[in-house]
Amino acid sequence: MGIQRWEIRPLEVWAKAKEMRAKWQQSIDDAEKEHVLLAQGNCNWAVGFPALRVIEDNPVGAMMGYRSSQFSRECRAAGEILGWGREICGYQLNCWGAMYLGYQMDGSKFPMRDMVVPFPDPCDQHTKRGQAPMDYSNIPRWQGDSPLYTGPHDPERDATMIENKVGTTLDIIADIERIYGQIFDDEKFIESINLAHRVREYAAEVCLSMQHIPAPLSQKDLYSFYTLGGLTKTDPEETVELWRMLRDEVKWRVDNNIAAVGTERYRWIEAHPPPWYFLRYYRYMEKYGAICIGSQYSHMMGGPFEFKEDGSWGPRVPLNSWGERPIKTREDALRAMFGDDARGHNFKVDEVIRPYAICEFAKAYKADGAIMPLWRGGVGCTVTRKEQGLRLSEIGVRVLHYEGSQPGDRTDQDETRLLDMLDVWMESQGLRKLED
């Protein structure tokens, strides 16, 4: 029987994404020269301060793992000498190791942070995040919490938890105004929240389009976009525009059956970040006509998802309805920001407390299999991963686990063995390579 072959085409909007990413990197490098403050963290409200830029150690550590195993090894060694455990998140070890060394991957000076505002996250490594620069150079640190619980919804508990986040953030903003003398621009912040909703709408559409056969994008494409507007903050309007362009192009690809992998015949999902230093495994799977259509992680830009009453899978807040809730004050904006994420199908919370959620994801995206890394380091990347594997097996989705240190840390990754395992796994499902 012949193999169905779909038309493939490169993504046109990719060039624009690359340009934006470079611009963001430049803004971080120039922070010191331009005398603006550099915050370690991922605060969506930072845009309200006129001279504050944010940088998170996740993308920095991931990029280092991707670009230079040699340099990230040096960074980890610098951290381990000072007492860091080997089970610690590789992103942190990469990033703070570079701080201890005093220079970045390209040899330029490490941009020291002026404050730490770790974003609320259920991963314990995020809870402790940013302590290294705080202990190293005596800078202030503000912490928000990520309240969550298992069990039935309790509106009273939910409300208190949202208020905790809103209140804590109001305090942090007031503290920064008081200490640094910068005036927070409410209008700009409110505008950015409204724009963020639009990014989310577009992103949700893009994510939903991955249910189409053939999938219009691959996981690698999704990863290229999700940091823009997620972890790396650039101009809000430009970000909305980028996502609109992506949405339009993806829609066109769906309408015309343009595929990311021309021989698509097997769809797999994954969990959490991939080994950034070994993205080759996506291409390797394509030899089998197997495409990765994403993970709860790479679909997070679409916001919280849920199963609808009719059985379909979609954004928790219906598309195009955010405008109905007026946002007039700083507090409204924060409440909108945290309220949307508070409960429901929030990828991170679900990963941590609800192994069953991944089954809903797998069903909605018509997944045949799941490749789920087991990371030795960085607790949030691994917690409940094997439970998820068991739940997926129960609904007939074949699961492959492989081990490694952490997405940004190559130490424990046995690449040859991983490729062998992929062969074993695919052949045991009756599939052989279409090309070699």
Binding site: L374, S393, V399, E403, D420, V424, W425, E427, S428, G430
Partner: protein, 257 residues
Amino acid sequence: MITAGIDVGIENIKVVVLRDGTVIASGTARSGGAGRGKAIEQTWTDTLKAAGISATDITKVVATGQGKGDVPFANDSITEPLADARVALFLYPAARSVVDVGADQIRVVSLDEHGAITEVVLNQKCAAGIGTFLRTVARRLGYTLDEMSRIGGSSDNRVVVNDACCVFAELDAINLLHDGVAWQDIARAIHRAMAVRINSVLSDKVRPAKDTTVLIGGVARNPTLIAALEERSGINFMIPDQPEFAGALGAALDAAA
């Protein structure tokens, strides 16, 4: 029709030649590390000689094992679970699971009533190299593998060594030696710890059935380990006569299919 299977493992190379469903020759040699290519060639020619045939008599050669890519004369290669499944169903048509414990890997292959593979579980890294580890420890205790198995079986002492990590287990064994614990007791503890490790892989995802599970691989030649594993897992394994050749036989069967 004559077919052959060659299983290139981490420690040993195994070759099986099959004529119409009957094994006519088999051969094995050490994998030889960097000299693996030569060792494969040598084992292959020796086995053909023993069978009294030449390479041109063979219709198809299929390779398997982790070194399957290093067999230039093979017509095809298959991954190890396929070979495991083939041989298990050939020897025991009622088999529903195959457990393969070799020098390096532990594999559990589950089969449905039609013989199709429904699940494959591979060991995690911390359970890798059990066969190699047993050989190393035997050498440290001054025994061959067979001797260590025999004397371990004669002990009923309950001393323990770490069962999560072979390196820790070896450290524990050395500690026990220094503490004057009898060698047979240490040998027993080693086998029991490895049984825990293997059973951990058996407990993952799909648990093999009590009476329809085939055990193959070099480690299946170790009676003390099998006894410990059967006690730990509650499974009564079906074990072929030459379990270390099972992978190669599976490949030869695949070549004939």
